[in-house]
């Protein structure tokens, strides 16, 4: 900020200093004054078409737009004079005149900017006696997105997003006047990897997500911040879920991911691959401990305590017999930095295991924007901790290993289930810690259900080396444990101090 000339002005009687070039709207935000707006979005240049952000500037005869007016030295801005409040009411009245009375069936209810602003700035009695404009109400525009043209307030955020951010331009504005409408007009529909952001930036329920449609009401949703685990970008997300009412009992359900703004990592957006990855938290979960053969845990009771104590004992015995070369561990880059550090202490330093491998999802294609080719969140964190990520050769492993500990189901990304089963047939004892069901389950002796990043705390280091800490965003499934807890108990059983 040093070197940028500063401008001193007054907003609502209070003085403040901002960088030259700041708009009135942004200056007000710095003071905690939020001027209502629809078409303005910080990702774009000001548009000036919704007319909600009109404010009074001393010395000017007409109200002026806060979003596009740049502050001047000595400027005096008033954001709540009767003239301004009347203008807001009147502009809202225009917006709502042709707006359909869809609230009872509209997903946006509860987070709708028309509702919110009417509540704060409207509260007038409607005087609209005419027939409302009839337009298309369930227009598919690509992927699962549905456009409702009657609800649309023509803020054009969606059009501008697709022109300026994804540069794919699938949407346009057609016709003119009150007949103006958004659409693809028979052209290519929206297929890009950022379509989900359109639902977020639409201030009303004009663009809704078929993935979310009619499933819940937003006022039931609880927010939990986390980091998306589906690639190495580490986009900041908000996980929205319900636990308990209105679901029966203590049932937990995840409804969607939303982007959380982070200028250094993901800006305002998340990609669809990450966004719709929320299904991972619920689909195909390993929910209970499974013991496949009358093997090592059979006599001890198939519970966490019993199994982990048994595993610790086995490791201890093999260490004592100098047989660590017969032990292999497969880790993955979904483990947090803290968990990977604990693995290092236990497996590498304390036990001296050399056969440490990584099984991550196969790389995909980066999309040139947020989505990276690396489809695991903490590859860089693993590298920083000294790990060399290498996929194990299962057949080679089979011949030389008596005890195999696998974290995560991603071995299946690199060999077919039966090939894995055949190869692993030669390993005496196999433990699998996994959050998801996979073909690996039947190839191992014990399957133990773990938590996902959304259900635990820790940190990931993203592709650019930025370390991001996250807290537990949703309650873990009953019966599963986070790897941090698993490793802590193993360490205790082995007499290793984790510190």
């Amino acid at each position: 900020m040093s070197g940028t000339p500063a401008v001193t002005l007054q907003i609502d009687g209070q003085g403040l200093q901002v960088a030259a070039g700041t708009t009135v709207l942004r200056a007000a935000e710095q003071m905690g004054i939020v001027i209502p707006r629809y078409c303005y979005h910080p990702a774009f240049e000001p548009e000036g078409s919704c007319r909600m952000c009109l404010v009074e500037i001393e010395g000017l005869p007409k109200l002026d737009l806060a979003c596009s007016t740049v502050v001047r030295e000595g400027m005096k801005v008033w954001t709540s004079t009767p003239k301004v409040l009347q203008a807001r009411k009147d502009v809202l009245e225009f917006f709502l005149a042709d707006h359909p009375l869809d609230c009872p069936i509209c997903d946006k209810a509860g987070e709708c900017w028309l509702q919110n602003y009417y509540d704060q700035h409207g509260r007038y009695a409607s005087r609209f006696l005419e027939f409302k404009e009839k337009k298309g109400k369930k227009v598919p525009i690509g992927k699962k997105l549905i456009l409702d043209r009657e609800r649309c307030i023509l803020c054009t955020r969606c059009v501008r997003f697709l022109r300026r951010v994804t540069k794919t331009g699938e949407l346009g504005v057609f016709e003119r006047g009150v007949k103006a409408e958004i659409g693809i007009d028979g052209g290519a529909d929206i297929r890009n990897n950022y379509s989900g952001n359109l639902v977020d930036i639409c201030p009303v329920g004009a663009i809704t997500d078929g993935d979310f449609r009619f499933k819940t009401r937003v006022w039931f949703l609880k927010n939990g911040r986390s980091v998306c685990p589906r690639c190495s970008r580490g986009c900041n997300i908000v996980i929205q879920s319900v636990r308990g009412y209105p679901l029966p009992g203590r049932q937990r359900k995840i409804y969607r991911f939303l982007p959380a703004e982070n200028p250094e990592v993901n800006g305002f957006w998340i990609c669809d691959f990450g966004r719709y990855g929320y299904h991972d938290i619920e689909d195909n979960r390993a929910t209970a401990i499974a013991v496949n053969r009358g093997g090592p845990a059979a006599g001890r009771g198939a519970d966490w305590d019993g199994i982990l104590k048994g595993l610790a004992a086995e490791l201890g015995a093999m260490a004592g017999a100098g047989a660590m070369s017969r032990v292999a561990v497969v880790l993955n880059s979904f483990l947090t930095n803290e968990e990977l550090a604990a693995c290092r202490k236990i497996f590498v330093e304390a036990l001296g295991i050399q056969k440490i491998f990584f099984a991550d999802p196969k790389p995909g294609e980066g999309d040139g924007s947020l989505l990276t080719a690396d489809r695991a969140p903490n590859g860089r964190g693993a590298a920083a901790l000294g790990y060399t990520a290498r996929v194990p050769d299962l057949e080679g492993l089979a011949g030389s290993t008596d005890l195999l500990i696998i974290f995560g189901p991603h071995l299946m990304d690199h060999s077919a289930a039966d090939a894995a089963a055949a190869a692993l047939g030669g390993v005496k004892k196999k433990y699998l810690f996994t959050a998801h069901v996979s073909g690996l389950d039947s190839a191992v002796d014990v399957v133990l259900p773990t938590s996902l990043p959304a259900e635990k705390r820790g940190s990931f280091t993203n592709v650019d080396g930025i370390k991001q800490f996250f807290e537990c965003a949703v309650a873990p499934l009953r019966g599963s444990l986070p790897e941090s807890e698993i490793l802590a108990r193993l360490a205790a059983g082995l007499g290793v101090t984790l510190g």
Binding site: G169, E170, G172, V173, F174, E175, R176, I184, D185, G186, G187
Partner: protein, 157 residues
């Protein structure tokens, strides 16, 4: 691409495109040209114009839907525009409109079955001292009476 203009039309498009520092600026003049030759602007024409000017077809369609003189559907050989704004209204434009609707057997906004006439109502044509006025394609007529209208129609082959 299946769409093409006449050799003369293509030459004029090239000349038009050269006039502007940005090719998109030639869009409306080129659309006019296409419409003069083909009568209207078909989806194939949209694609051709888009490709010729190096702009997305969606933007061509956005523009087409905004301007009332550009037609995306076929129109009659003669497009009759009847002005209904203040001066023309005062001079009796509604009567002229009714007369034309009866005579042609269509409502305003429609094209006759034989494809000869399209009748549309428009806002001020800028010919107010000759109210009530109308246009047939590029030609101005006004002030028109019912008889004058009949005479105009008779003269259109």
């Amino acid at each position: 691409m299946s769409f093409s203009l006449s050799a003369e039309g293509a030459k004029r498009v090239e000349a038009l495109v050269r006039r502007y520092p940005k090719m998109q600026a030639a869009l409306i003049p080129v659309l006019h040209l296409v419409q003069r030759e083909k009568g209207f602007i078909s989806p194939e024409a949209e694609e051709w114009v888009a490709a010729t000017l190096g702009i997305p077809a969606l933007q061509v369609r956005e523009v087409l839907s905004f301007y009332t003189l550009l037609h995306r559907e076929p129109v009659g050989r003669y497009v009759i525009q009847v002005c209904r704004n203040i001066s023309c209204y005062i001079a009796g434009s509604e009567d002229i409109l009714n007369h034309l609707e009866k005579k042609l057997g269509v409502r305003a906004g429609e094209t006759t079955a034989d494809g000869k006439y399209t009748l549309i109502t428009v806002e001020c044509l800028g010919n107010c001292d000759h109210a009530p006025c109308l246009m047939v394609n590029d030609d101005d007529y006004g002030p028109v009476s019912r008889d004058a209208v009949d005479g105009i129609l008779m003269g259109l082959t």
